[in-house]
Symmetry: C2
DNA sequence: GCACACCCTGAACCATGGTTCACTTCTTCA
DNA sequence: TGAAGAAGTGAACCATGGTTCAGGGTGTGC
C-alpha cells in the first residue's frame, strides 16, 4: 500500500471542487449558462482547464451538478411550505409568494434556471425542476379540492398554468421593466399571485390583502 | 446593357428562395431550430450550400426570416379576432381558444416558436412574438375593464400570465402526454382557457360552456 | 530519501458546422 | 454566336470551445 488519501488531501480536493462549482455559479449568475466556458471557470477557480476534468467528466456533468445544486435549494423551500399543516389555500398563497418573490430577488439566476435558452442536456434538468414545481402546486391543489377549499378543477393543468404564468410574468421579455421590479417588487408579485389564485377559484381574504398592504408600505 | 433580369428568371429566383424557406420550415417542424443545418437545408431544397448565401446573408438571417414568416401568420389571426367588435370577454375567449387550439394542433412548430431553446438572435424574434401576444391580450383586457366586463386588474401583468400559462400548459415538459392531447385536445384547451379567464375574473357563461360541449362531441 | 501513486498543468488536439471562393454553368442581348 | 455578367457549385476554410495528454509537481508510506 503505497498511497492512501489523507483527510487533509480529501479536504483540499473538496475545497477545489467547491471552488470550481462556485466559479461556475458566479459565471451563471452573471451571464447565464451561455457564458459558462471551461477555460473561464478554470481561471476563476484558480486551476488549470485540465483540472476541471479531474472533478467533472465533462462540461455537461459540471453544469448539471450546478443546476441541481442551485435548484434543489429552491425546490426544498417550496416543498417545506407545501408540506405544512395549514389549510391548502394558505399554503398555496405562501408557496406562490415564495416562488415569485425569490425569482424577483434573484432574477439573473432565476432566468438561468427557468427561462434562459440552454441546450438539451440542461433542458432535461430544467424539465425536472419545473415538473417538481408543478407537482408541488398540484399536491396543494388536490388537498384544497378534497376539503372543499378549491373548486373541482384539473389540478395538473392548473399547476402547469401557474408554473408557466409566474416565471413568464416575472422574467424574460414579458416581465415589467427592471426598475419597476426593483422599486415595487411586492406589488408585481401580489398581482401575479392574485391572477394564479383567481385562476384556481380562490379570492384573497381581506386579512391576507391587508397583510400585503402593510408589507408593501413597510 | 448586356444583361437584365427577365421576369422568368425573377420568378425562378423567387421559387428557389421559397424552396429554401420551405425546406428550412420542414426541418424546423421536424426537429426544431436546433435541427436546422445549412447543408441540410440546401440538400432538401435541391441546391448547393453556397447558393443559400446568394439568398440569405447568413444562417441567422435565414432563420429570422423563417421565424417571422411563421409567427406573422399566427399573430395575424389573433389580431383579427382581437379587433372585432364583439364584447371584450367574447373576444378574449376566442383569442385564447385560437391561441391554445393552434398550439395543440401544430405542437412541434409551436414548440419551436415558443419554447425551444434557441440562441440569442432568434430569442429576439421570439421576444417580439411573445410581446405581441401579450399586447393583444392586454388590449382586450383594457377594453373589458373600461366597459366593466372585467374587474380592474393590471392588464400587462395579467396578459403576461396568460402568455406564459398557455404555452407552458400545452407544450414542453409540463404539458399533458401527447396521446392525451391527441385524443382530447378540446378538453385540455378548455381547461386552460378556463384558468386564464378565471385569472382575470371572468367565468364562462352557461351558453359558452354548452357550445364547447357540443364542439367536443362533434 | 526513495518509489510509487496521485494531482495539476496548459498547449495541442479535434469535432462541429457556418462561411467562403475559385470555378462552372446559365442568361441576356447585340 | 459570343462576350459579359449573373447564378450555382461544393470542397476547402476557419472559428469556437470542449477535451486530451505528456510531463512536471506533490503526498504517502516504508
Amino acid at each position: 500500500m503505497a498511497y492512501r488519501q489523507t483527510d487533509k488531501v480529501a479536504a483540499r480536493l473538496a475545497e477545489t471542487r467547491a471552488a470550481i462549482l462556485a466559479a461556475a455559479r458566479g459565471l451563471v449568475a452573471e451571464g447565464g449558462f451561455a457564458a459558462v466556458q471551461m477555460s473561464e471557470i478554470a481561471k476563476q477557480a484558480g486551476v488549470a482547464t485540465g483540472t476541471l476534468y479531474r472533478y467533472f467528466s465533462s462540461k455537461e456533468a459540471l453544469c448539471r451538478e450546478l443546476f441541481r445544486e442551485v435548484s434543489a435549494r429552491e425546490m426544498g423551500m417550496l416543498a417545506t411550505i407545501a408540506s405544512s399543516h395549514e389549510p391548502a389555500s394558505e399554503r398555496l398563497v405562501k408557496v406562490l409568494r415564495t416562488f415569485a418573490g425569490r425569482a424577483v430577488k434573484g432574477r439573473r439566476l432565476a432566468y438561468a434556471l427557468l427561462a434562459e435558452p440552454v441546450d438539451v442536456n440542461l433542458a432535461e434538468e430544467r424539465a425536472f425542476f419545473r415538473r417538481t414545481h408543478a407537482e408541488i402546486f398540484a399536491s396543494i391543489l388536490e388537498d384544497g379540492i378534497e376539503n372543499g377549499e378549491i373548486p373541482n378543477i384539473d389540478v395538473r393543468i392548473a399547476a402547469a398554468c401557474i408554473a408557466g404564468a409566474i416565471p413568464t410574468a416575472l422574467i424574460g421579455p414579458l416581465a415589467p421593466q427592471s426598475h419597476e421590479l426593483d422599486s415595487n417588487p411586492d406589488r408585481v408579485v401580489e398581482e401575479i399571485v392574485k391572477f394564479c389564485l383567481a385562476g384556481v377559484g380562490i379570492t384573497l381574504a381581506a386579512g391576507q390583502e391587508q397583510n400585503r398592504e402593510r408589507r408593501t408600505v413597510a
